[in-house]
C-alpha cells in the first residue's frame, strides 16, 4: 500500500482536508455576569453573545463567541463598575475543541488593563475603565499547534488507509450500508445521538396486557414509544429538512407548522391560517369575555390592586411581507378581531395597554420581527415594555421611570427567541445568518418593590426581559399560560420554577400581587383561542366551568 503513488496523493489531499477542518473558527468564552440577560457585548469588536441556561445565584452564566483571532480578544463592559467571572474557554474548530477550565486559565491567558488586585486569576474581573484585553500566551498557541498537527496527520493517515482498503472491499460496501441503515436506528437508540428541537411528549414503554393488545392501545403506544427512541433517524430527518428547505421551502420540523415564506421569512402556519379565516368575528363572545375581564378588574380595584391587560403584536397580524401569495389574507380576520377586542375593551372600560399600536407608531426603521423568529424583536420589546410602564403609571397612578436605551446595534448573530423558528426547522445547520438588532437598556434609578404577577404567553418573555434588564421590578412572577407552575424572578433574575397544581393555591398566589398583568396576543381569535384567558377569569372569579 505504501509503495503505491495513490497512497501519497490521497494522503496529501487528506492533509489539506483535515488542515481546513481543524481550522479554529471561533472561541467560546463562558463567563458569569450579574447582568440579567446579556454579557458584555460590543459589535465593533465583532463579538456577540449567546444566551445559555442561567445558573442559580447572583451570577448568570453566559457565553461569548468571538469570531476572529483568538490570540487577542477584546472584551468591553457596557455597564461599569462591573464584575464578571471567567469560567472557561473553548477553542472551537470542527474536529478540534480545546477546553481550558478556570483552574488553568492563567496558564494560557492574561488580561491587560485590569485592576491590579485581580490580575492573577480570573475569578473576579473588575472593569474600572470599561474595557480589557484577553491575550493568549504563546504556550497555548504552541500547544494548540502541536495538537492540531497531530490530529491532521493522524486523521489523514487513517482516512487514506481506509479509502484504499475500501476500494478493495468495495463489493461489500452496499450490503454494509444497507444493513447499517436498517440496524443502526435500533442499535444506537440508547445513545440518543441526534436530537430534534422542541418539546416532545414523553412516552414510556407501554406495559403489555392481553386487554390492551386486543384494544390496540398497546400497539399504538409502543409504536409511538419506538418512534421516539429511534433518535438515529433524527439525522435523516434533519438531512431531509435541509434538502427541502433550500430547494422547496419546506421542513417537517415542528409538526410541519412552520411556514417558510418569501425571502425565507418564517411564520407559524397555524397563525397564518387564522389570518385567512373568512368567518365573521364573534362579537358576542368577545363582549362576554370582556365583561368577565372587567369583573376581574373590578375585583382587584376593590382591593387597591392594579389590573391591566397588555396587548402584544403577533407576527401574522403585523408583519405580512413574507406571507406567500397563495394565502388569501384579504379577509384580514386578525385585524377585524383586534379592532373588535379594542372596541369591547373601550366599551367595558378595561385598563388595557395596547403595545401593538404603540410599537407600530414608534417603530421607525427598526426591526419588528426577526426573520426566523416568531416573537417580536428587541426594539419593539423595548417599546412594549416602555408603554407598559406608561400604562401602569396611568391606571395605577404609579411613577415608574421611563426606559431609556444604553446601546442599540445590529449584527448578523441572532440568538434566543430571535431564532426560535429557525431552530425548530430541524435542519443540519440552523439558518441563523440574518440581521437582528440588540438593545441594551439603562438601569432605572429606583427599582420597584411592588409584587408583579403576570399571566400570559410567550410574548411576555420579551417585554419581561427588557424590564428585568432595566431592573424595574424586583419581585416578578410569571404564570406561563397558567400551566401548573410559575417562574419566579427576584432581583431581576430567574431564580426558580414553582409547581402550583392546586387551584386555590394558584388563586391566592396571584392575588398576592400588587400589580396583575394579563398579556394577550392580538392573534388570539375571539379571545378564546387561548384557554388560559378563560381559566384565569374562572380562577379569579371562583367560577366553575
Amino acid at each position: 500500500m505504501f509503495k503505491k503513488p495513490s497512497f501519497y496523493i490521497i494522503f496529501f489531499f487528506s492533509l489539506i482536508l483535515f488542515f481546513n477542518l481543524t481550522k479554529i473558527n471561533r472561541v467560546n468564552l463562558y463567563i458569569e455576569s450579574p447582568v440579567v440577560n446579556h454579557a458584555i457585548v460590543d459589535a465593533d469588536y465583532n463579538i456577540s453573545v449567546q444566551e445559555i441556561k442561567p445558573t442559580e445565584g447572583r451570577f448568570r452564566k453566559v457565553g461569548v463567541i468571538v469570531n476572529g483571532n483568538f490570540s487577542n480578544i477584546k472584551i468591553k463592559a457596557q455597564k461599569y463598575p462591573y464584575t464578571m467571572k471567567l469560567k472557561n474557554i473553548i477553542i472551537v474548530s470542527t474536529l478540534f475543541p480545546f477546553n481550558i477550565s478556570d483552574k488553568n486559565l492563567d496558564k494560557y491567558f492574561y488580561f491587560r488593563n485590569l485592576d491590579v488586585e485581580h490580575q492573577k486569576g480570573f475569578n473576579n474581573i473588575n472593569f474600572k475603565d470599561g474595557s480589557s484585553y484577553l491575550e493568549s500566551r504563546s504556550i497555548l498557541l504552541n500547544k494548540i499547534f502541536l495538537l492540531r498537527s497531530l490530529i491532521v496527520v493522524t486523521f489523514a493517515f487513517v482516512l487514506t488507509t481506509l479509502l484504499i482498503l475500501l476500494t478493495k472491499a468495495a463489493r461489500f460496501l452496499p450490503a454494509t450500508l444497507l444493513i447499517t441503515a436498517i440496524l443502526a436506528p435500533i442499535l444506537l437508540s440508547p445513545f440518543k445521538l441526534f436530537k430534534l428541537t422542541g418539546v416532545q411528549e414523553k412516552h414510556e414503554c407501554p406495559v403489555f396486557s392481553i386487554h390492551s393488545f386486543k384494544k390496540k392501545t398497546f400497539q399504538n403506544d409502543f409504536e409511538t414509544y419506538l418512534n421516539r427512541k429511534l433518535s438515529f433517524n433524527n439525522l435523516h430527518i434533519k438531512t431531509l429538512n435541509t434538502l427541502l428547505y433550500y430547494t422547496l421551502d419546506k421542513s417537517f420540523g415542528y409538526n410541519q407548522n412552520i411556514l417558510i415564506g418569501k425571502n425565507k421569512i418564517l411564520y407559524e402556519e397555524s397563525f397564518i391560517n387564522l389570518l385567512c379565516l373568512k368567518n365573521e368575528v364573534n362579537i358576542k363572545i368577545i363582549n362576554q369575555v370582556s365583561q368577565n375581564i372587567k369583573k376581574v378588574q373590578d375585583y382587584y380595584e376593590k382591593q387597591g390592586k392594579t389590573f391591566v391587560v397588555f396587548i402584544t403584536p403577533g407576527k401574522a397580524a403585523n408583519y405580512q411581507v413574507g406571507i406567500p401569495n397563495r394565502f388569501d389574507i384579504t379577509s384580514q380576520s386578525l385585524e377585524k378581531n383586534y379592532k373588535a377586542v379594542i372596541n369591547a375593551f373601550e366599551e367595558n372600560h378595561i385598563n388595557y395597554i395596547d403595545a401593538r399600536k404603540y410599537v407600530k407608531n414608534n417603530l421607525d426603521n427598526h426591526i419588528f420581527y426577526p426573520r426566523s423568529g416568531t416573537h417580536w424583536a428587541d426594539y419593539p420589546k423595548y417599546l412594549g415594555a416602555k408603554h407598559l410602564l406608561q400604562g401602569l403609571n396611568k391606571y395605577g397612578h404609579y411613577n415608574f421611570e421611563d426606559l431609556t436605551i444604553n446601546t442599540i446595534y445590529k449584527n448578523n448573530i441572532p440568538y434566543g427567541e430571535d431564532v426560535d423558528l429557525a431552530m425548530l426547522l430541524d435542519l443540519l445547520i440552523a439558518p441563523v445568518d440574518y440581521q437582528v438588532e440588540h438593545v441594551c437598556l439603562n438601569d432605572v434609578k429606583t427599582p420597584s418593590y411592588k409584587n408583579v404577577k403576570v399571566i400570559g404567553g410567550s410574548f411576555w418573555w420579551g417585554a419581561g426581559e427588557m424590564l428585568n434588564q432595566a431592573k424595574v421590578f424586583k419581585n416578578l412572577d410569571v404564570y406561563f399560560y397558567l400551566i401548573n407552575y410559575k417562574k419566579v424572578f427576584r432581583n431581576f433574575l430567574e431564580i426558580q420554577k414553582d409547581n402550583i397544581s392546586d387551584k386555590n393555591s394558584l388563586r391566592n398566589d396571584i392575588n398576592q400581587g400588587d400589580i396583575i398583568i394579563l398579556e394577550i396576543n392580538d392573534c388570539i381569535v375571539n379571545l378564546v383561542a387561548q384557554a388560559y384567558i378563560k381559566e384565569f377569569i374562572n380562577l379569579i372569579l371562583n367560577e366553575n366551568d
Partner: protein, 470 residues
C-alpha cells in the same frame, strides 16, 4: 403494522430477515408463517383467529374436494367454501350497509328500523377471502393440487408482504416457490430496489397529497370552486395510484428478498388508450381474478353478445361492491362496467389499431378515469354530484384550496405525473438501461432515496394506506 412505519422497518424487518436467512430451508416457511401471524395480529388481534379458522376450514374443504370422486360432491364442497367465504365478507363488510339500506326503505313505509351491529371491518378481509376462493376453486378445477402441508398452505394465505393489500396471488402460481426457493444476492438487492421504489412512491407522493385531498373533499358548495374540484380529483388520481402501486412494489420487493417472484400488479395504467387496456394495467391481480373466477364462470365470451355485455357489466359491478360498502363504490363499478361494455360493443381492444392519435386516446381515457376517481373518492352521492357539478359547470373562479399548493406540493404533484407517464417514453427506457447496467450508481441512488424516505416517515405520524379498508 404498515410497511412505511418505523416499527416495521427497524424492528420487524431486521428480526424477521435475520432469522429467515439463518434458518435451514425446511424451516423457512414456518418462520414466514409465525412472522405473518404476528404481523397480522399486530393490526387485528381478534380477527386473526377468525382468519386462521376460516383458512383452516378451506384447507379441509379443498382436501375434501381433491379426494372426492364425483363432480357433484366436489361442487358441494366448493359451494360450501364459497358460501363461508362470501358470508364472512358479507358479515364483516356489508352487513351494516345492507341493514342501513333496508332501514331507509323501511323508513319510507314508516316501519321500525332494524338494529345495526357494531362490526369493525378487519384489515385485508377482502384480499384474504378472494385468495382463499382462488385456492379452493383452482383445486376444484384441477388447475392445481392442494398444499401438501398446513404450514405451506397457511404460509400462502398469510404471507405478510401481500396479506394486507395484495397482489392477489393464486396458489398454483407460487406453489413451487413455497416448496423450494433460493434467495441470491441479486434477489436481495433487487428486492431492496423494488421496496425502496414503492416506499418512496407511497411516502413522498401519495402521503404528501393525502391531506390536500382530504381538505378539498370537506368543502361545501360555497367553498368549493371549479379549480379546487379539478385539482382535488387530479391529486386523488395520482394519490391512489402511488399509494396502491407503491404498496404493491413494497410487497413485491419484500417477497423478492425472500426468493419469491410474483406477478406485477400495475403497469403504467394512466397511459391506457381504453378502459379495456386500463384494466389490464391497473390492479392486474384483481382484474385477473375477476376474469378467472367471475367472468368465465358466468359464461365469459362463450355466449351471446348480450350475455357477454351482461357478464362484463356484472363483474365490474361486483368489483365496485368489493371495493367498499357504499353507493359511490357501486356507482364506480357500474361506471367502469359501462365503459368496458362499450369497448366490447365497439370492438375496442388494446392491440387494435385506431384512427384517433394515441395522445388523444390516452387523454380521453385519462379524463374518463379521473371522473371515475371522483366517484370513488366521494363519501356519498351528494358529494359526487357536487364535485361533478363544479368540475363541469364552472360557476366561479374561487380557489379556496390555493394555500395548500405550496412549492413542495406542486413539485410532488408534477413528479407524480412525470412518474406516471415518463416510463412509457423511450428516453426513460434508455436512461433506465444505463442505470441498471451500473450497479453502484443504481445502489447509490436508491440508498439516498431510502434514507430520505426514512427521514420523512420518522418526521410525520401515521398515514394509513387507502386500500386497507378493503
Amino acid at each position: 403494522m404498515i410497511f412505511s412505519s418505523p416499527i416495521f422497518l427497524f424492528l420487524f424487518v431486521p428480526i424477521f430477515y435475520s432469522i429467515y436467512f439463518l434458518m435451514p430451508a425446511k424451516y423457512k416457511n414456518t418462520v414466514i408463517l409465525i412472522a405473518s401471524i404476528i404481523f397480522y395480529a399486530w393490526g387485528e388481534p381478534t380477527f386473526v383467529f377468525v382468519a386462521l379458522i376460516s383458512a383452516y376450514l378451506d384447507f379441509i374443504l379443498s382436501k375434501s374436494i381433491y379426494k372426492s370422486n364425483t363432480q357433484k360432491e366436489k361442487k358441494s364442497w366448493l359451494t360450501l367454501s364459497v358460501i363461508l367465504n362470501v358470508g364472512l365478507l358479507f358479515y364483516f363488510k356489508y352487513f351494516n350497509f345492507f341493514i342501513e339500506n333496508i332501514n331507509h326503505f323501511l323508513s319510507l313505509i314508516h316501519f321500525k328500523p332494524l338494529g345495526m351491529l357494531e362490526i369493525a371491518l378487519p384489515l385485508a378481509v377482502s384480499f384474504i377471502v378472494f385468495e382463499k376462493i382462488t385456492y379452493v376453486t383452482d383445486v376444484y378445477r384441477g388447475v392445481g393440487k392442494p398444499a401438501n402441508s398446513l404450514i405451506d398452505y397457511f404460509t400462502y394465505v398469510l404471507l405478510f408482504p401481500k396479506l394486507i393489500a395484495g397482489p392477489i396471488i393464486k396458489y398454483h402460481d407460487i406453489d413451487k416457490q413455497i416448496k423450494e426457493r433460493i434467495s441470491t444476492k441479486d434477489d436481495i438487492y433487487e428486492g431492496f430496489f423494488r421496496f425502496t421504489k414503492g416506499f418512496f412512491k407511497k411516502v413522498f407522493i401519495a402521503d404528501t397529497l393525502a391531506p390536500v385531498i382530504d381538505t378539498i373533499f370537506t368543502y361545501n358548495s360555497l367553498s368549493l370552486g371549479s379549480i379546487d374540484a379539478w385539482l382535488g380529483v387530479i391529486c386523488f388520481t395520482i394519490q391512489i395510484y402511488f399509494d396502491f402501486s407503491g404498496y404493491s412494489d413494497m410487497a413485491i420487493g419484500l417477497l423478492r428478498v425472500m426468493g419469491f417472484r410474483i406477478m406485477e400488479n400495475f403497469n403504467l395504467p394512466y397511459i391506457s388508450k381504453s378502459f379495456t387496456e386500463f384494466w389490464r394495467r391497473w390492479h392486474i391481480s384483481l382484474s385477473t381474478f375477476i376474469r378467472d373466477y367471475l367472468y368465465i364462470p358466468l359464461g365469459g365470451n362463450r355466449c351471446s353478445k348480450f350475455r357477454q355485455y351482461f357478464n362484463l357489466f356484472t363483474c365490474f359491478l361486483i368489483s365496485g361492491i368489493w371495493h367498499g360498502a357504499s353507493w359511490n363504490f357501486i356507482i364506480w363499478g357500474i361506471y367502469h362496467g359501462a365503459f368496458l361494455t362499450v369497448d366490447k360493443a365497439l370492438g375496442i381492444k388494446p392491440q387494435s389499431p385506431r384512427k384517433m392519435p394515441a395522445f388523444l386516446q390516452v387523454s380521453i381515457t385519462f379524463l374518463l378515469v379521473v371522473i371515475s376517481w371522483t366517484i370513488f373518492r366521494s363519501q356519498n352521492i351528494q358529494q359526487i354530484a357536487l364535485m361533478l357539478n363544479k368540475m363541469f359547470l364552472p360557476q366561479n373562479l374561487i380557489f379556496t384550496s390555493q394555500y395548500l399548493f405550496s412549492k413542495y406540493v406542486v413539485f410532488i404533484l408534477i413528479l407524480g405525473f412525470v412518474i406516471s407517464f415518463l416510463p412509457a417514453m423511450q428516453i426513460y427506457k434508455n436512461i433506465r438501461n444505463k442505470i441498471d447496467s451500473r450497479f453502484y450508481l443504481k445502489f447509490t441512488l436508491f440508498f439516498i432515496l431510502f434514507i430520505l424516505t426514512i427521514g420523512k416517515i420518522s418526521a410525520v405520524s401515521n398515514i394509513t394506506f387507502i386500500y386497507f379498508r378493503f
